[in-house]
Amino acid sequence: MLVQFYNVSKIYPNGVKALDDISLKIDRGEFLFLMGPSGAGKSTLIKMLFREEKPTRGQIFIASRSVVRMKRSEIPSLRRSMGIVFQDFKLLESKTVSENVAFAMEVVGARNHEIKNRVPEVINMVGLKGKEDAFPGQLSGGEQQRVGIARAIANQPLILIADEPTGNLDIDTSNEIMDLLYSINRKGTTIIMATHAREIVKAAHKRVIMLEKGRIITDDSSGDYAL
């Protein structure tokens, strides 16, 4: 098991109960959708994976390591095993496509020749060959998200976490981004994706977890959940 949640609850200091007794397991190589209305706890659950938030109660293991008991100094190594894709892309506007991807490798201390080899490889993989020297402002939304995905997979993560990656994109572009994510998943990367896009989930036939008011209301491995 790659990810294990045991009776995880999260109550924020302002009293809001974001997660209520969540238990779940995610296998290596899975593609998992997290669904639910806004405020259902999707973001909180995702933030716990890379320990931006700590649970109030319960245990979380990722690759057999307890994320809850982890020391502050161990957090960077946890995060290096993950890639994160954001709804608003979070690209650095002052850096080119290549530099944005290289940035992810530089900050984890990769060697120069590794960066030189890997950056064109991932840019090619996400279909942005020829745009290496463009700045984010010169790209379409779909292209920007491809840069975001390239950056997330540059360090060859075990898990790719995507928080509403198609939230800012139109349907056609969303489908292209999904195809890219499926192909990354087929190469062995586990993907956890939070989304509101029912059409995408319906068409995917992958495991879906529905959250409501901080609880799991359905966990369907076939994706044929009742809408």
């Binding site: 931006e52 957090i75 190594s77 995060r79 940035f103 900050v107 984890v108 360090n155």
Partner: protein, 294 residues
């Protein structure tokens, strides 16, 4: 720390300085103004302190001998005075010298004191300087008790008031310098915080990608050092030029003794440069940690 990391940190720091031109300019000006004011305060204090030292060291005791004291007695009094702890220098002034001094201070040509007075009414005396001017009243009391000493003067009352004034001038100037340094730290910390705030998204991203705190901090530290020392360098140049021209002008105008020793000034300038670097690092330290808490 690995070499390629150091190069990376310096490159990142330089890039960030160039990219945020306005903030770089703001921080350097803040730092240089703070350090300039600090430097001026220290210079004033140094000069005031030198002036006060001079005033204090001018304080001396005059012990007048009884009129009929013999030569050997006078010599033995000198030994007794020298034996008092804290006495630095004992100078004999004969009654003839004293009269000449008086004549000189009244104006040489107007009167002839010797002629007018016929007999010299002035006693022999000793001028006594102490190691520490603050001991003057105590030592004066002990000299007064010696045999054949008729009277002792040291500007009683005035001396005590002078010491009271110099004590307070020193205390207030140290307090002011401390206050200025404190203000400088917070001004610089605030400007550096603005620079960090402008890059908070980048820092957040670095944290989520898995950068260590140290890796994120180092470029900012280097930035802080560069900003602080650059600001200090500017203020030192301004201070040095300004003070030099002050020395040249004051020299011909006033009796006020300015510190002109190049060694003392060099120490001051180097200290200000180190202060600048220190302020830069401290400012970064105060500002950055809360952005790392992701």
């Amino acid at each position: 720390m690995r070499m390629r990391n150091i190069i990376y940190f310096i490159k990142e720091a330089m890039k960030s300085l160039r990219r945020n031109t306005l903030l770089t300019f703001a921080t350097i000006s803040t730092a240089s103004i703070c350090i300039l004011i600090l430097g001026i305060a220290v210079l004033i204090t140094m000069n005031a302190s030198q002036f006060m030292n001079k005033l204090e060291s001018d304080v001396e005791i005059i012990a007048y001998m009884e009129k009929d004291t013999s030569g050997t007695q006078i010599a033995s009094i000198k030994d007794s005075i020298k034996n008092i702890a804290g006495v630095k220098e004992v100078k004999f002034v004969s009654c003839e010298e004293a009269l000449e001094n008086l004549q000189e201070s009244l104006g040489k040509d107007k009167y002839d004191l010797k002629e007018t007075l016929e007999k010299n009414p002035l006693p022999d005396s000793y001028q006594i300087k102490t190691v520490n001017p603050h001991d003057v009243p105590e030592i004066a009391k002990r000299i007064e008790l010696l045999a054949n000493v008729k009277a002792v003067t040291y500007g009683k009352g005035i001396v005590e008031r002078l010491f009271e004034v110099t004590k307070w001038v020193r205390l207030v100037s140290i307090f002011l310098i401390g206050l200025l340094a404190f203000g400088a730290i917070f001004l610089i910390a605030t400007t550096i915080r603005l620079a960090i705030y402008a890059r908070r998204k980048e820092i957040y991203l670095m944290k989520l990608i898995g950068a260590t705190d140290g890796f994120i901090r180092w470029p900012f530290f280097i930035e802080g050092i560069i900003l602080g020392s650059f600001g200090a360098a500017i203020s030192i140049v301004v201070l040095a030029l300004g003070y030099q021209s002050l020395i040249v002008r004051m020299d011909s105008l006033f009796f006020l003794p300015l510190i002109t020793g190049q060694d003392a000034l060099l120490v001051l300038y180097i200290s200000l440069l180190i202060t600048g670097m220190f302020l830069g690092v401290l400012g970064t330290l105060i500002s950055i940690n809360r952005f790392l808490d992701v």
